[in-house]
Structure formats: structure tokens, C-alpha cells
Symmetry: C2
Subunit: 417 residues, 2 copies
Amino acid sequence: MALKSELETMLHGARQAARVLARSRGKEKNAALRLLAGALRDARDEILAANQGDYARALARGRSAAFLDRLKLDRARVEAMALSVEQVASLPDPVGEIIAGWRRPNGLEITQIRIPIGVIAVIYESRPNVTIDAACLGIKAGNAVVLRGGSDALETNRVLARLTARSLAAGGLPATAAAFVDNADRAAIQVLKQRADMIDLIIPRGGAELKRALEGATVPILPHFDGVCHVYVDRAADLEMAQEVCVNAKCSRPAVCNAIENLLVHNAVAADFLGPLGEQLSARGVEIRGCERARRIIPQAIAATEQDWNAEYLDLILAIKVVDSLDEAIAFIARHGSGLADAIITGDLAAAGRFAEEVDSAAVYINASTRFTDGFEFGFGAETGISTNRLHARGPMGLRELTTYKYVVRGEGQVRI
Amino acid sequence: MALKSELETMLHGARQAARVLARSRGKEKNAALRLLAGALRDARDEILAANQGDYARALARGRSAAFLDRLKLDRARVEAMALSVEQVASLPDPVGEIIAGWRRPNGLEITQIRIPIGVIAVIYESRPNVTIDAACLGIKAGNAVVLRGGSDALETNRVLARLTARSLAAGGLPATAAAFVDNADRAAIQVLKQRADMIDLIIPRGGAELKRALEGATVPILPHFDGVCHVYVDRAADLEMAQEVCVNAKCSRPAVCNAIENLLVHNAVAADFLGPLGEQLSARGVEIRGCERARRIIPQAIAATEQDWNAEYLDLILAIKVVDSLDEAIAFIARHGSGLADAIITGDLAAAGRFAEEVDSAAVYINASTRFTDGFEFGFGAETGISTNRLHARGPMGLRELTTYKYVVRGEGQVRI
């Protein structure tokens, strides 16, 4: 009951703040963001002390090394947060952009204008930097944000949220524009997901558990959940290029959604390609799970099961399958891929064209690594997530994807006949 | 059980068809649409016979005159359907449009390409022309459609759906791309709304009952439900223009969502404006419900209750309130409006600017009638609905709003450092 009424107050504050933010100018928003950057630097010791507490508790709970690394802050990471806030402040304001405009034969002037979405709730894992990122990007795009971070980062997030609210107020914007759910309970998600009257969009960042927790939501959700990405090495591939791309797509950061989980290789080049690749991958500590034909070429590969083709390992594991045609590769990706990012390596124009058209993923690569699926790499100057949705936004999201539009129609008394 | 397995077969057919449609060229889609136009003309007598049966049954059920008028087809209306199909065929293909494209510093070429959404279910009232419209527009945009029309038009729709499927097949496209739910039972909606795996989007056209039936849906919904629209006559309004716009926005077609339900008038012009307007409206059979101040000027007005300010009459009824300021008008619209279409009549630049910025509706009008909120009037060449959503599409929808996009990234072996 206390939680519900707390959330109620918070949501009302966010809704009111959203109306103010929608009308605030870029100058005001940027000033508040720059104040936040300064506040982060000034409060560095307080932030680090809170984070040490979180870290010690997470360690005692037996969290994995990767988890602890994402949770941990140090001086350099606090400075990186402050710099990223300043970078967001320096981006152009997406709000007010005239997306399109035209005049109708009857003289009406129609303009389509970019405006904020309203109140956006971001639900994320125990990564304190996401608290600052989500707040900044949401506010820059003129939205109020409701932040619900992972419980292991609660103390750190509490400090970061307080600094954000204070900086907003100091900059003349409503402090409630960045509302922080100061509660580690999953019950908060159950409340939030039903408040379509108060929240316009939920952006979840997390795994299968969060996906389940959000089932039955009435608030629209812009998910970025699974990333089962593929590289397909075509028979006409430059094998040296293919090897570089495969190693990059698997090894450069295996725990992220745009790393590949499955490699498909055309039968005609499998023998030449997979031998050296297998050695390279093994040398980098990658566990290989292969189909029968792949295993004949890579002796250290263990047998892949049907489950392997659908698995998002997020780890140094790669499933490899030899296929007999481009068609088989495309069908395999349609069946097992998550529609996030898939690449073909080929010198064959027709194969590249068919792959680009027929693979139904947010980002389709021809002769490049799937790892570029990222707002910064796409040149958006920011990243607000990678949508696996087909509606509203698909693939890497920047500031624009946190906005909607309205039409303003100017006339001289026109009526419809 | 039979219903479920029937729907299952239908959805699988639609999903497969969507893959074919996504790759079909404009020429093929247009050819199939032109065959449909011909088929409608050839089968006119069969269509009219089926419609006469539907009409007789609806009449016996005691349906309203307006309902019966929407249901009824005649020779001219069948010809209008055929013409509208031909018009859709003549529109440019939205699929394949390069929305944006740029080169990154590392040489990667990124293009954002318009593609179909996939499978779209349209749930609509007993208007047979919507069967043809929804099928044509969905297919033109490269989607498979699942059509579920109102039960009173079942016989007519059955004929129209059969003609559509046959025309698709005759044009070399999968007949299952236009799937018709041949079932008057609400149970079908309950099945469809949960099949997020098979349906990418539901577009509902209907009232409060349909809204309730769709509660708990897991399939994304692009609603166009309520339309509580306003005209605000500012103190600086040209009163002659204001009168023309008000009469048009209320009387030209009161049963549609972009007609106004509430009129707000600034106190300074209320006496001059409302007297003549009241007479005009009454002469046109409009029932006026007014606030106390409005009733002092319009003697025939009955007292408006709090409920009236939120009501979507869809009828010749208008609620009128006198306000003391632009601020009060904007706050009233925020509280009672549905965010669809609202207009200000004013000669004051600052008032026009504030209204355009602060009224958070899909379409905001300055000195023009809200009745222009329509895909054709906006110049889209088609109308696929008027979204009251903030995400994906807002306001009048054309063919583009039935599409999404993918990124195609071309490189020469780039890897992420």
C-alpha cells in the first residue's frame, strides 16, 4: 500500500513535469544537464562510497564477475558519466524539428512537428551509468523519466537520482522530471506496467525474467530483449575478411546483444574457412559447438544441439553450422534469429542483394561486423537502446526515437466541403 | 475449438503470405488490385444480393438508420469501391523507399529502408467498404491482412473476401494474404489479440465495446477510438470565420471522430458570437448544452453537466462553455479532449503560437475546421485510420503508417574496434 501511494505521487509528479519539459527550450534543458555533469564530479566521493556498499553486498550475494564489473564505479567511470552528460547536452534538440511540411490545394499549410512522447519509464539492470544515461536522454528529448534500476545498485542509484533531481531544480526545471523508484521490489514493475494513464512508454533493458515480469502490461513497451545474431559466410566470401569479421563479432564483446551466437558457412568454403577460424577462436577461449559437418573440420568442437541454434549465450561460445546454399542460410536465420542484426560476407552482388532484402532484421550487414548495431556507431550521438520491436522504432535508438510528432495545420478559415 | 483451429490455419497462411508480399514488387501488387477492381464490377449483382440479405436481417434486428446506411451497398457504392481500389493501385509503392542514408567516418554506408510491418489484423464495424479498403491498403503496403468485420455485414463481407482472395491468386500473389475471419463471434477477437507471435499489429475501428474487448491484448494495438474535439474561439477571432468553422466542424458530418463535441468561447466575444451561432445551430437541428454563461446568451441551450464535457456525442449535440482566457481553454482541452483534433480561431499571433505548442493533440488547427483530420485531406492519397496513439503513428494514417523500416549496412570488411 505504501509502495502504491508512493508510486502514485511519483507518477503524478512525472506527468506534470512532462508538460513543463515538453515546452522547455533546448537552452534550459542543456543548462540543467551541464549542472548535473558538475554535480557528478563534485559528489564523486559520495557516489563512490555508496557504490562500494552496493558492491560489497553484491559480492556477498555471490554475483558473477561480469555482473560486478557492470555495477562497479571508480573515479574514471564517474568522470565518464559526467562527460557523457555533457555530450548529450551538446547534441541538437530533437524537439521542434519540422519533420515535413506541405501546402494543400485548398491553401492549408500542414507541418509535422517533432514533440516528446511524455512520460517514459526505463527498467534496467544494476548498471548505475544507465540511471544517468536514461535520465539525460529522456530529458534532452523533452520527456519525464521514471527510473527503476536493478536492486544491487540501489544505494548508488539513490545518490545519482538525487543529484539529477537537484540539478534539474537548480536549472529551473521540475525535479520530478526524473523520478526514481527507490524500491528493490518487483512489485513496483507490476504497478508501473498497468498505468497506461500515467506512463506513455516502458523501455525495458534486461533478460527473460524482466520480459516475463512485463507480460500483461497495458503500457506500450519498446523491448530490446534477445540478440541471436548471425554471420553467414557465403561461398563467394573473401575468407580473410570473413575471419576478421567473425572474430570481431564473437570476441570483441561477447556479453552484448549485437555479438553473434551462430555462424553459418557455405559448404563450398567450409573446409578452407573453418579450420583456421576454429584455431583462432579456440586461441581466444571460444567454446565451439558445431553441426556434424563443422565438427569434421574443427576437431575441438562439441556437438551442437537444437537448443544451441536458439541460444543467446552472451558468452564466449559460438554455434557453427555448415549450409548448402544462401536459401538455407536465410531460412535458418528466419527460424533461429531474433531479428536484431545479421551479416553476410560475400563478394557476390546477387547474394548480397537477396540477403539484404530477405533477412528480416533491424540491421542487415553486408561485409561488416554485427557489432556496429549501436546508436553511437550509427552516428546518432547517443544510444537509448536497441529496439527489437517492429513498431515505432526498430534497431539502434537515438534521441529521435524518444519522440513522437503532432501536425499543426494553419488556415484562413477553411472548412471541409 | 473449431474456431481456434480455423484461426490457426488462417494465421499461418497469413504469416507465410506476408513473407511473399514483403518481397513482391509494386507492379505485382498493383496488378492484383486492378484485378480486384474488375472482379468487384463483375460480381456486382452477387455482392448486392448478399448485402440485401444482411440489410434485411439488420433491419429486423432494429439497427439505427445511421447503422443501416453504413451497411447498405448499391450500384454506385460498389462502383465507388472499385474506383477506390484502382486509386490505391495508382499510388506509389511505399515499400523500398530509402528513408535516409549516410556514410560513417569508417566508410560504412547505412541506409534506412521502408519495409512492410508483416501481418496486420483490422477489426471493424459493419461497413463492407472497409473490407475492401483495409485489404487493399494493407496489401499495397506489402502486408498480409486479417479482416474481422462486424457481424451484420457477414454475408456481404464473405463475398468481398472471396473476390479479394481470388484476385490475389489470379495476380500471382498468395490468396491467404487477405484472410477473412468468417465468424460473427466475439471469441475470435479474444484469440487474435493474444497471438503476438502471428500478428504484428491490430488496428481496431470501433467504440467503447471494442476497446474493452481488446483489453489485455499482447499484440500491439494502433487504436483510433475516441474523438472529443474542440474549437476555441479566441477574443481576437474573426467571428464570421469562427461561425463558419464551428458550423462546419459540428454539422458537416456529426457522426465522425473529427467533428467537434465542445465549443469554447472567450468571454470577451461570447455575447456577440454565441447569439447568432446559437440560432444557426438550432436551425440545423443541433441540440446545445451550455455552461451557465452560455445559457444566458443562448436561451434554447439546456444545462451542460460535467459528463457533457467528456462526451463523444457523434450526433447533432454541442456542448458550449465560456472561458476567461486562452490558459483556461488550453487547460480545458487537456482535461476533456481526446488528443485527436482541436482548433483555435484567432487573429492573434501569440495566441495561435501558444495553442499550437501547448495543445497536445495529433492535429492542432489554427483558423481551420477539425474536419480536415483525414488521410485524404492531408494529401496521403489514402486513409488507413486516424491513430489516437502517441507511438508509431499519430493522427491521420496513410500507406507509410502501415510500414516499418530496416537498416542495411554495407561495408568492406569493417570490424568494431
